[in-house]
């Protein structure tokens, strides 16, 4: 006989204007288990967790905790029932110190009614210690790395005596070592009897940690599986509703002549102990080649791409040669004109224009091509947008649809499509598949491969090693701003890359 579920959600339904976000969802979480929720973007995972944590009220269905029916009207109610959630976008006040965030809204007070900072700091320090987090309770939260900020959220949950911890894609912004630390923390929490509900795209970590897996698709709960009785392949196929081919092994490409050469690139970092963000980086890129850039968070991957694109600080030294000619751009506009394009790492913050429609997002950098008699012609612009939308395979209800209504993968294709209109010779892709679901990733891989075969030189960074190993012809590895390895496709494997990435 199976134990009583700790949390039971029965027939949960949630409707937003125009969307049925959750449709008769069933979920049972057993006490002390690690339960993973898998599903593509838009499957309803986050909405379900919002219902569980009292952020959203369901339109139908029932929620039982310890067998008792609950109707949460806010996160406070959920916290009282022992449910704490760590959202994908962390909910911390950057300007406050760590301990103030841990006790936000539940501040301890001394005899005079003034804040009792000492007791809060002591308890925060204790909690952080159990979480292997070496930051001071007095440090401003905004100065912490994402991984540490997440641990602060977990400390907050622990201080609430949460019995169930809900984590919404916690590792999507973490480096490999931070993810490993989080896994250890989770294992320790589980040993203490905390129930974990974990949302993730990453099959590897799900299969390493989960006891059971529930798959959501299109707002419906498809199935709950025992980890031991299933396989990543089965789970992903349930997620997308069809079998996915393992990212097809890409046949060798034939790179031609050198297009970009970087020599002795150094980017200073004034006021930092290390003194540099990038030190003495040299590499070259050929047409028809994908150069992978591996490295942990803070290794300088983004800074490298930004320096080439003139989007970062101007104080770099060394040389960048494009088509054999030395270049030093002072603004991204010059880099674009010279034939360089960059897809930035944070799509929402740096890539998209939420108020412009799909077409306008695509044509933005090449609008001059849609001018007729000095004014933008609607027909010409639609025609201009149609090309890249087709080439990148964007699925959209129309050229004039809201860009925010598209899935992450389609949004990213729009950003790539924007650059296809500027006829680039070099395409810089900074972690282009972050936060994109499995099916769309495979499509993006295909797109990148095709563009490369058409003669583009591509530099690709990724926080996921398998992605680099699938796509890249060569991989350079950065560690703390230095280039520590340059590996050919045959030499590269996860072990070697990780060794180079952690080389001090």
């Amino acid at each position: 006989m199976s134990p009583e579920p700790f949390v039971a959600m029965r027939g949960i339904t949630k409707r937003f204007p125009g969307v049925l976000a959750l449709d008769d969802v069933h979920l049972e979480v057993l006490p002390g288990e690690f339960h993973a929720i898998c599903g593509e973007n838009g499957a309803g995972k986050s909405t379900l967790m919002k219902v569980l944590s009292g952020v959203e009220r369901p339109d139908g269905g029932s929620l039982l905790v310890d067998g008792r029916a609950m109707a949460f009207s806010g996160t406070r109610d959920a916290e009282r029932a022992g449910i704490a959630i760590i959202h994908q976008e962390l909910a911390l006040v950057d300007t406050l110190p760590v301990m103030a965030n841990v006790f936000l809204g539940r501040e301890r007070r001394g005899p005079l009614g003034l804040l009792d900072d000492r007791s809060m700091a002591r308890e925060t320090a204790g909690l952080l210690e159990t979480l292997e987090c070496g930051v001071s309770p007095h440090a401003p939260t905004g100065s912490l790395r994402v991984g540490d900020q997440q641990l602060v959220e977990i400390a907050k949950a622990l201080s609430l005596d949460a019995r169930i911890l809900v984590m919404d894609e916690p590792t999507s912004a973490l480096t490999e070592s931070e993810s490993a630390r989080l896994e250890r923390v989770i294992a320790a929490l589980k040993a203490r009897g905390t129930t974990i509900l974990f949302i993730s795209h990453k099959m590897e970590e799900v299969f390493r940690m989960a006891d059971r897996i529930t798959v959501l698709r299109d707002g419906r709960s498809i199935r709950t599986l025992e980890r031991k009785e299933t396989s990543p392949r089965e789970v992903t196929s349930l997620m997308v509703g069809r079998e996915i081919e393992e990212a097809a092994k890409i046949t060798p490409r034939r790179p031609t002549d050198e297009i970009l050469a970087v020599e002795g690139l150094t980017l200073p970092w004034p006021g930092h102990a290390r003194g540099y963000r990038l030190a003495d980086i040299s590499f070259s890129l050929r047409r028809g080649e994908v150069l992978g850039v591996a490295g942990l968070m803070g290794a300088g991957r983004t800074e490298l791409l930004e320096t080439i694109f003139a989007a970062g600080g101007p104080n770099w030294t060394g040389s960048i040669r494009l088509r054999g000619r030395e270049v030093r751009f002072s603004h991204p506009a010059e880099a674009v004109r010279a034939g360089i394009a960059m897809v930035p790492e944070d799509r929402k913050r740096l890539g998209l224009f939420p108020d412009l429609d799909v077409g306008a997002n695509v044509t933005l950098s090449a609008l001059a091509r849609a001018l007729r008699g000095g004014l933008i012609s609607r027909q010409a612009e639609d025609a201009l947008a149609a090309g890249p939308l087709r080439a990148t395979g964007v699925k959209t209800p129309g050229v004039h649809a809201a860009i925010t209504g598209l899935s992450g993968g389609n949004q990213q294709k729009c950003v790539i499509g924007r650059w296809l209109l500027t006829d680039p010779a070099v395409l810089l892709l900074d972690d282009p598949t972050r936060g994109i679901d499995v099916g769309a990733k495979a499509e993006l891989y295909g797109l990148i491969d095709r563009l490369c075969r058409e003669g583009l030189g591509v530099i690709l960074t990724s926080s996921e090693l398998p992605e680099l190993l699938t796509l890249a012809d060569r991989i350079i590895v950065l560690a703390e701003g230095r280039l520590t390895a340059s590996l050919s496709r045959d030499e590269a494997d996860e072990q070697r890359i990780l060794e180079a990435a952690t080389a001090g």
Binding site: D355, L356, L364, A402
Partner: protein, 403 residues
């Protein structure tokens, strides 16, 4: 679940239609309620008043809107109006002191020089704003707050030193009696035509030019705009110059209208009316969103309401203008957000604050009615408001909304 944005375009359209309907409704109500029947008996005169006021406000409301759409804010427009007016008047005084003092025509060339100097001052102030924002890296709010205070003072200093040098006595005003300015004052169609032409140009600029698209992109996501290869500093430069220049144009009209350049008071506080018109017309203060038709309708709505209230309660429009603008902005923006707020399940009068707002709103509304209509009516209105709000509050807590 793109619910937060997906509803944008219908709201957009309904917003403009709603404004149009609201304008007609306000005019109709005024025509019926106004005891003097001025809309019915003297339609042309009323129309002329509203048209002049709308055109004057609308000219620089377009400037305010462009900066807001570009993600900035220009708080200095009122002071820019004063500076521009003063520059045109002092230019005439400097070039033709005898004629200005004798209230005689100064000649076409001098008028042209005065207008050119005004417009140039707009470009100069706009460039100053752009420099403060992009190079000195001040937030637009601070940069234009500084010039809001500074430019008016500068205008007054300019007025006093020019009058000190050119006339027997220093003065904080310069009278302007040139026939060109009189002609502008007496022909309402001139400011209206300038407003209409400017609106059409701005509309085409925003919807059909690369620059307009870049303005929207800049306001929607500045960093992404830079990474898309847009020279964001130049786009801002244009936006602030456009805004200051519209205020410079308006400054010339104010001088013409009042036959005087008076830097101490001319245009004072008008920047907020312009921002209000843009916001009522659908511009989002977070940038990236807004249209010219919306801004034009917002301006008309604001002026029509101000005119209606002054007609109905028969006091000078200026007494209640600020109150009206404030209330209109709150109501207009509340309505455009109503859908979102209801979805969030928040009531209008939540918690302790909601409880406190019942008597506070009752006193505000009752007091206003008491001052405009009479003590007894005010008392009654206050009580009715209190009862209605208390009812809403009770209904809310029954439904379990809020808290």
């Amino acid at each position: 679940m793109a619910r937060e944005r997906s509803g944008r375009w219908p709201i957009h359209w309904t917003g403009e239609w709603t404004l149009l309907v609201a304008i007609l409704l306000v005019v109709a109500i005024t025509a019926v309620v106004d005891g003097n029947h001025s809309y019915v008996d003297r339609p042309l005169e009323s129309l002329r008043d509203i048209a002049r006021n709308t055109a004057l406000l609308g000219i620089f409301a377009l400037g305010a809107a462009v900066v807001i759409i570009a993600g900035g804010i220009d708080l200095s427009l009122g002071s820019m109006i004063a500076l521009s007016g003063t520059i045109s008047a002092t230019t005439m005084l400097a070039l033709a002191p005898a004629e200005v003092m004798a209230f005689k025509p100064v000649g076409g060339l001098v008028v042209a020089a005065a207008i050119a100097a005004s417009l140039l001052s707009g470009l100069a102030v706009g460039s100053l704003h752009a420099w403060l924002v992009t190079a000195v890296r001040l937030p637009p709010f601070i940069a234009t707050l500084a010039t809001l205070v500074g430019l008016r003072s500068l205008a007054r200093a300019l007025c006093e030193s020019t009058t000190g040098a050119m006339t027997p006595t220093k003065s904080a005003i310069v009278n302007v009696a040139d026939p060109f300015f009189k002609m502008i004052r007496d022909n309402v169609w001139i400011p209206v035509a300038v407003f209409a032409v400017l609106a059409v140009i701005t509309w085409i600029m925003l919807t059909r030019t690369v620059l307009g698209r870049h303005l929207q992109a800049l306001g929607g996501n500045e960093e992404a705009a830079r990474l898309a290869g847009i020279r964001t500093e130049n786009v801002k430069w244009f936006a602030y110059c456009f805004s200051a220049t519209t205020a410079a144009v308006a400054g010339i009209f104010y001088v013409a209208n009042e036959s005087v350049a008076a830097p101490v008071n001319q245009g004072r506080g008008h920047e907020l009316n312009a921002i209000a018109a843009a916001v009522v017309g659908g511009c989002s203060l977070t940038g990236g969103v807004g249209t010219v038709p919306g801004t034009v309708l917002g301006t008309i709505f604001l002026r029509v309401v101000i005119d209606a209230v002054s007609k109905i309660i028969k006091t000078g429009a200026d007494v209640y203008e600020g109150l009206i603008v404030g209330v209109v902005v709150v109501i207009a923006v509340t309505f455009s957000q109503a859908g979102r707020e209801a979805a969030a399940g928040r009531g209008l009068l939540p918690g302790g604050l909601g409880l406190c707002m019942v008597p506070i709103l009752a006193v505000f509304i009752g007091g206003t009615v008491a001052m405009t209509t009479g003590g007894l009516a005010g008392l009654a209105m206050g009580l009715v408001t209190a009862a209605a709000l208390a009812g809403i509050r009770l209904w809310q807590s029954r439904r379990g909304v809020g808290a």
